[in-house]
Symmetry: C2
Subunit: 203 residues, 2 copies
């Protein structure tokens, strides 16, 4: 077996620390998403704007380590979703499909509680519970969003093929079919009245 | 975008729990490797045999969830290496190259302490320290082995492209270049006197 023919250019090994109680790394910065980055993400946009005007809270953070976007590499990092709500809707990530639609992803929950909300292009959805020690496998073809329904920061370690790519646009236009809101102190999934208003207009 | 043309057949989402303090899952069995499964893995084979004759100790466990071996999927699970030694050489996994040599893997350490020992086909090696919260990225082209140098069980969560494949044979014949042994109560890497005795005979 010849290195020259069998291997793409080799990377050096990487050692990157992620504090399991904060999700943050002393070795790499996290990308931040604040209320002001999330226009249209929560169903009550007026409430989001009002809250942002008072304080532009941090909603979530994640890592992009900049590995080459090729199929041999595995992108990884932590996702860190703060506890909070906008008009009863729990703090969450924007959510996305992969650009290479069939590529999967795995999340391993390190801290906190919540859900990974999944939805395929046909609108089939499921909510997979996240608790410390739970791994959720997101099969190909499923958009996914992390939702923090607990009192602590929700921290997950994720891994996906580095060339998978992120299609945020489809979710930005159509939303997820279901919203996760607090009802009587408990999380509940309810239909999103705005879901699919732009369906048929996917990337 | 048509599901029929863009997607391979879709899997259902998977929720699999891995206890972060044992690495074991109530949802899926772990594969076990005992002293009797590890003939030739430790440099002192006589000591391994003698120890096995007294008690066939469990050395490590890991998960094979049986995901389809195709490039869109991500194989994942925990690796669980017990604390122990054979004639001063720490308990460790067999170690392997990926059959698709250029495919990477990531390990996230949940508990314990040790090393991920890496070696490429040219014999370049490195030892990446594993501590809770450390992620080690194994680039393509590097054989890798987990070594437990601590008193607790070493537990890592791993993810790799599901079609990567495991080439155990090359390491079984040639070994790793370096051994990890206890010297004065500390781990130390020393040259493997048997390394490369079968080099030139790789898969």
């Amino acid at each position: 077996m010849s290195t020259a023919t069998a291997c793409p250019p080799l990377l050096a090994p990487l050692l990157i620390r992620f504090d399991p109680t904060t999700g943050l790394s002393p070795d790499r910065p996290a990308l931040q998403r604040r209320l002001s980055d999330l226009a249209g993400v929560f169903v009550d946009e007026t409430a989001r704007q009002a809250r942002q005007a008072i304080n532009d809270d941090l909603v979530y953070e994640f890592h992009d380590l900049g590995l080459p976007e090729r199929s041999e590499e595995i992108a990884f990092g932590t996702s860190i979703v703060r506890a909070g709500q906008v008009a009863g809707e729990y703090f969450m990530t924007k959510g996305h499909f992969h650009t290479i639609l069939g590529t999967a992803e795995v999340y391993y929950c390190l801290q906190g509680e919540g859900f990974l909300l999944l939805e395929d292009q046909a609108g089939h959805w499921s909510a997979q519970p996240l608790r410390p020690g739970s791994a959720v496998y997101v099969p190909g073809g499923q958009a996914h969003r992390s939702i923090n329904t607990g009192a602590k920061t929700l921290i997950t370690f994720y891994a996906f093929r580095a060339d998978a790519g992120h299609d945020y646009g489809t979710i930005a236009r159509n939303g997820f079919r279901m919203l996760c809101v607090e009802r009587d102190g408990q999380p509940e999934f309810i239909p999103n009245p705005r879901w699919g208003s732009a369906r048929g207009n996917r990337d």
